[in-house]
C-alpha cells in the first residue's frame, strides 16, 4: 500500500525533469529590442556565436508564443507600459531576461526618461550586466537560465 502511494511522486518528479529538460532546450524568445544592446543581441543570435546551439535561436514576435522575454536596451518611462503589457500577454511558464545594464539598473541613464531597472515594473529572472554585454556573457547567462528552467524555477 505504501509503495503504491510513493510511486506517483517518483513519476511526477521524473516528469518534471523531462519537461524541464525539454523546456530549457527549446526557449522561444521574444526580443524586446529598444537600443544599442540590440547590436550585441544580433551578434549572439547570428551564426558566429550561434545561440541556436542552446536551443534558443528561435525568436517569436508574438508574446503568446514566447517563453522568455528578452528585454534588450534602455526602457524609457514612455515605453514601460508597453513592456508590461507584452509581459502580461505571455503565457506561463515565462521568464524575463534583463539584457545590459540599462535594463538591470537604468545604467548610466539616471534621468527623467529612463526606468531605473525593469525589475521595478516586472519580475526579472536573469540579469546580464554589461554595456553592452559581450556575447560570451550573454551565453553564460543563458546557461544559468537553462539551469533555472531545468529546475522548473520561475518568478512568474
Amino acid at each position: 500500500m505504501e509503495q503504491d502511494l510513493s510511486a506517483p511522486g517518483i513519476l511526477t518528479s521524473q516528469l518534471d525533469q523531462a519537461i524541464g529538460w525539454a523546456r530549457k532546450y527549446s526557449i522561444f524568445q521574444y526580443p524586446f529590442v529598444t537600443a544599442c544592446c540590440g547590436m550585441e543581441f544580433m551578434s549572439v543570435a547570428c551564426s558566429h556565436y550561434d545561440i541556436d546551439r542552446f536551443g534558443a535561436g528561435f525568436p517569436r514576435f508574438s508574446p503568446r508564443q514566447a517563453d522568455v522575454l528578452m528585454v534588450v536596451g534602455t526602457i524609457s518611462h514612455k515605453i514601460a507600459p508597453v513592456l508590461r503589457r507584452i509581459y502580461d500577454q505571455m503565457a506561463a511558464p515565462k521568464w524575463v531576461v534583463a539584457f545590459g545594464v540599462c535594463t538591470c539598473t537604468g545604467g548610466f541613464y539616471d534621468n527623467y526618461a529612463t526606468v531605473q531597472g525593469i525589475d521595478t515594473i516586472l519580475p526579472v529572472d536573469l540579469y546580464i550586466p554589461g554595456c553592452p554585454p559581450r556575447p560570451e556573457t550573454v551565453l553564460e547567462g543563458l546557461m544559468l537560465l537553462q539551469k533555472k528552467i531545468q529546475a522548473q524555477g520561475r518568478r512568474a
Binding site: 537604468g106 521595478t120 515594473i121 540579469y127
Partner: protein, 191 residues
C-alpha cells in the same frame, strides 16, 4: 558664398547692428526674437537657404555661476533659440553656405513659428516645446513629441529637478540604486 551682403541685408531687416561671431560656415548671427522669423523667411527667399538643418534651444539659466564664464544671455532672457540653415545646390549637391541665427527669449514669449516655411520645423518646434517649454505662436494645440502627455514640466530646463521622476507605472522614487559590486558584473539569476 560671400556672406557679407547677406549680413548687411539682415542688418537692414532687423534695423539694428547685428552681432556676428564665427566665420565662413560657422557664422552665427544674433537677431531680435521678433525678427527671427522674418530673417529666416528672407534668407530662404532671397539667398537660397533652402534647408533647415536644425531648430533647437539652449537654457542658459545659471550659466557660469561660480566660474569665470560670463553668461551670454541678456538679462531676463534665458533661452537661446538656434536656427541653423544651409544653402544647398540641388543640381550639384554642394553646400553653398551655412548660417546660424540665435535669438534670445524668455520662458513666456511665443516666437513666431516657421513651420509654414520649413515643414521640418513642425517636429523641431514640438521638441523645443516639450523639452524647454518655449511655445511657438500660432500653435495653441502643440503636442509633446518625446515625452508622454501625462508628463508635467519640461525636462531640459535647468530648473527641472534632476531627481524628479514621473513614471507611468512602477514606483515613483526608484532612482537611487545601490552601487554595484564586482560580483554584480557577472550574469546573475534570481530564484
Amino acid at each position: 558664398m560671400d556672406l557679407a551682403p547677406i549680413l548687411s541685408d539682415i542688418e537692414a531687416l532687423c534695423g539694428a547692428p547685428l552681432s556676428a561671431r564665427g566665420a565662413g560656415s560657422d557664422t552665427v548671427l544674433t537677431v531680435p526674437p521678433a525678427k527671427a522669423r522674418a530673417a529666416v523667411e528672407f534668407l530662404k527667399a532671397k539667398h537660397g537657404f533652402n534647408v533647415l538643418v536644425d531648430l533647437t534651444c539652449v537654457d542658459y539659466q545659471g550659466f557660469g555661476k561660480g566660474t569665470q564664464n560670463v553668461s551670454p544671455a541678456p538679462e531676463g532672457r534665458r533661452f537661446k533659440l538656434v536656427y541653423r540653415l544651409m544653402a544647398l545646390d540641388a543640381g550639384t549637391g554642394l553646400i553653398k553656405a551655412r548660417l546660424a541665427l540665435d535669438s534670445w527669449v524668455d520662458g513666456e514669449s511665443v516666437p513666431a513659428t516657421i513651420k509654414d516655411l520649413f515643414p521640418a520645423a513642425d517636429w523641431l518646434e514640438r521638441e523645443v516645446w516639450d523639452m524647454f517649454g518655449v511655445r511657438f505662436a500660432d500653435r495653441p494645440d502643440v503636442k509633446r513629441i518625446l515625452m508622454y502627455p501625462e508628463f508635467t514640466g519640461h525636462p531640459l530646463r535647468k530648473d527641472y529637478p534632476i531627481k524628479k521622476r514621473q513614471p507611468l507605472i512602477g514606483p515613483a522614487d526608484a532612482s537611487a540604486r545601490e552601487r554595484l559590486s564586482p560580483a554584480d558584473l557577472r550574469p546573475r539569476i534570481v530564484e
